[in-house]
Symmetry: C2
Subunit: 144 residues, 2 copies
């Protein structure tokens, strides 16, 4: 519990602030690096990765494996502890347009319970992304 997260550096604060400003964004390391540069205070790519790793260990951000190619994304894990575990909602990622949908749905929450009860497996929603076609791209596909 002591010294959670190590040193408090400008870079870490800057990255964290950007996440706070964009709580719904799923950012790749490249996007974050560029955003930092555009903010006027560039941060090295290695530092970005190391900082994200640290923030993830602290539970301040969450890592996703979104893109098939192009690497991981990180999302701000807002003040979650008990009341807002942020574990409860599913992510749907469109393989066509790349859009990410956040789905909060009772039925889907039942899935975790079912899988645990019947298959002995605890689903970690924060790591899980369902891939498929969003409504818009589905209609586009059917038309074409």
């Amino acid at each position: 519990m002591q010294r959670r997260g190590g040193y408090q550096t400008k870079q870490k604060a800057q990255i964290l602030q950007y996440f706070e400003t964009h709580p719904q964004a799923h950012l790749t390391a490249a996007e974050l690096t560029q955003a930092m540069a555009e903010c006027g205070t560039p941060i090295g790519a290695a530092t970005v990765y190391r900082t994200l790793e640290r923030l993830e260990a602290e539970g301040r951000v969450r890592r996703y494996t979104l893109d098939e190619r192009g690497g991981a994304c990180w999302q701000y894990a807002a003040g979650q502890s008990e009341e807002n575990p942020c574990h409860s909602h599913f992510h749907l990622k469109c393989i066509e347009c790349g859009q990410l949908l956040h789905v909060d749905c009772e039925y889907l929450q039942g899935i975790g319970e079912h899988i645990l009860a019947h298959h002995g497996f605890i689903v970690d929603h924060s790591r899980t992304v369902l891939y498929g076609l969003c409504e818009h791209c589905r209609q586009k596909t059917q038309e074409g």
Copy 2:
């Protein structure tokens, strides 16, 4: 329907045969390349990728994005067409031990229908993996 899959080459047959011999395996390109080398007839990595791409287009293998780091996997898509579309089962990947579970379950199949009906999103099971803790690792974690 004509010339499905282009030329019939030794390399393609060799890769396909390996999949037939390991129908449940999820193989990375590297694993497959090494397996080919160990079989005595090495196949270039580029050829492995291009062959997998072709086999996937033919519907003979299925591509998954399993590992957070380390790239994609391919699995043999056994004689599926209508009766056994192989789209119906979910994959559960343990983030602790890496084990991959294949779950074929009516309840879970209902998920796709629910998401389509209520959220307008078609889930592509072949691309989707649910991450979490398998039973074994869960007990191990709780004990420790």
